[in-house]
């Protein structure tokens, strides 16, 4: 009896821990959309949302309620099971990767020793949500959009994988917390600066953001893989996309910007808790995402593929050779 009670308590605590990660994340996602509209508004000399609540702060909730109360339309010629399954897959995959992200020293849901591979696996699965959505919609625009999107995501995953190998060689561990702690002396964006740039651009392509937002090139493909979706099913895609943006930014933070570590190890900076630093770094990267969206025009498709396969892949492969030779001739130390 006692053991059973213990088990129930443990699983209850686990559920609370999961909620403690997911709820702030969902609020973060909601306010990321607000932040995006505000930032791009200011960059284009507009005001952005300013009607609902003070400074338009309740705008995300108004959008959400509007989206939820619309009618869900399932096209009659679509494959209904896959049509409904794919937004659920996209949204779920955007959330479950957070199980291994350390937001502070020891604040992580499960500190597994193949953490980085878990994240790569989850992000490689997220192609399926998009490709299934495009196929199940039974619409040419949606199908073309999903093919583009999937090809793009696979291409850039290759260079992302090679860049992660660089970091793994320097750290010597697959555990995310150990990767962060190894950056105590120097954040890896300094020694691996070219890779930091390549990784950031690849995350833009991986999350289908501007200037690589070809899947939703309005002018040619209407809106890409999610044309046929409405209401909540569209909302899940939308939340999944923004969740992936935050996830990719936190991955960049962990791999290159020292995770929860303060920039300089002194007393004043150490007073600020680690998750605040983590939040600040992630927000900075997200601001870069929005800044780029407001600044750069869209890539052409062949340029996108050329950049991924002919520029980033050789570059990151070359950097793997440099890093591993350095570590080899330095007796396994970095």
């Amino acid at each position: 009896m006692f053991i059973e009670n213990n088990l129930v308590m443990e699983s209850l605590i686990d559920v609370l821990k999961i909620l403690a990660i997911i709820l702030p994340l969902l609020i973060f996602i909601a306010y990321l959309t607000y932040f995006e509209r505000k930032v791009i508004g200011f960059m284009q000399l507009r005001k952005g949302p300013n009607v609902v609540g003070p400074f338009g702060l309740f705008q995300p909730f108004a959008d959400g309620i509007k989206l939820l109360t619309k009618e869900t339309i399932v096209p009659s010629n679509s494959n209904k099971f896959l049509f409904i399954l794919s937004p659920i897959i996209t949204f779920t995959l955007a959330l479950i990767a957070w199980a291994v992200i350390p937001i502070d020293n020891d604040i992580v849901l499960s500190n597994i020793n193949v953490g980085i591979m878990y994240i790569v696996a989850v992000s490689s699965l997220s192609v399926y949500g998009i490709i299934m959505a495009g196929w199940a919609s039974n619409s040419r625009y949606a199908f073309l959009g999903s093919l583009r999107s999937a090809a793009q995501m696979i291409s850039y995953e290759v260079s992302i994988g090679l860049i992660i190998i660089n970091i793994l060689i320097t750290v010597g561990s697959l555990n995310l917390s150990e990767i962060v702690l190894a950056q105590k002396n120097v954040w890896y964006f300094l020694p691996h600066f070219p890779m930091f740039i390549v990784f950031f651009i690849s995350t833009l392509a991986e999350t289908n953001r501007a200037p690589f937002d070809l899947p939703e090139a309005e002018a040619e493909l209407v809106a890409g893989y999610n044309v046929e979706y409405s209401s909540l099913s569209f909302g899940l895609f939308f939340l999944g996309e923004y969740g992936n943006m935050i996830l990719m930014s936190s991955m960049t933070t962990i791999l290159f910007l020292g995770g929860w570590l303060p920039p300089v190890d002194n007393e004043i900076f150490n007073l600020i808790p680690g998750f605040v630093w983590f939040f600040l770094k992630v927000s900075f990267l997200l601001f870069l995402f929005l800044w780029i969206r407001a600044t750069l025009p869209r890539f052409r498709y062949d340029q996108l593929m050329r950049l991924g396969w002919k520029v980033f892949l050789p570059l990151s492969l070359f950097w793997v050779i440099i890093t591993s030779s350095y570590v080899y001739f330095n007796n396994g130390n970095f």
């Binding site: 193949v114 696996a121 399926y128 196929w135």
Partner: protein, 195 residues
């Protein structure tokens, strides 16, 4: 118990790969099979293999399958016609595979010399799963590992050779020329009054 549940799911879904009428469903069932196989790896504490299985097979190979199957308009009844023709070959392959597995696990009773990896000793040194695989793959089995990479390379070259078309007949943009073009090359200012 978990092993039984997931292996039952694997058997059913891999049957569905062959039996389902829609080829897209076949690929999706294949993905489902891979996912459950990776769960079985996780149960047996092989977390590195589990993640590799998902990244390589689900994230890359099966996506390409799905691409091809979705874009080609495959007539599923036509494929079914060839079922009997390919059945003997399939049975042969299965027998070879089962025989190999038998040699690996029961080879000593047949007189084969099987390389022994002492798993107990490997983990007693505090090695993680990942390190243990690396220690064997890059030392004792290095040649075999490299050879399998060459097999993949040959397959890739073969595919490229089969699909290669003469570039001259295709009109495509040369990005280098596009990027190095200057204003003077395209626009010429002519003074109309002078003539």
């Amino acid at each position: 118990m978990f092993f039984n549940i997931f292996s039952a799911i694997i058997i059913v879904s891999s049957l569905m790969v062959v039996l389902s009428r829609n080829p897209v469903y076949s690929v999706l069932f294949l993905v489902f099979t891979f996912l459950n196989a990776s769960i079985i790896f996780l149960i047996s504490n092989a977390e590195f293999l589990a993640m590799t299985l998902i990244i390589v097979y689900v994230g890359a190979v099966a996506v390409l399958f799905l691409f091809v199957v979705m874009m080609l308009n495959i007539n599923s009844t036509k494929i079914k016609e060839g079922l009997l023709k390919y059945l003997p070959f399939g049975v042969l392959l299965t027998l070879v595979f089962v025989g190999e597995l038998y040699v690996i696990f029961q080879g000593e009773s047949l007189g084969f010399v099987t390389p022994k990896i002492d798993i107990e000793e490997l983990f007693q040194n505090g090695n993680s799963n990942t390190k243990a695989i690396g220690l064997y793959l890059y030392t004792d089995y290095f040649i075999i590992f490299q050879m399998s990479a060459y097999v993949l390379l040959v397959a890739m070259i073969g595919a490229i050779v089969l699909a290669y078309k003469d570039k001259k007949s295709i009109k495509s943009q040369n990005v280098f020329i596009q990027n190095t073009v200057r204003k003077e090359d395209l626009i010429k200012l002519v003074d109309s009054k002078k003539k």
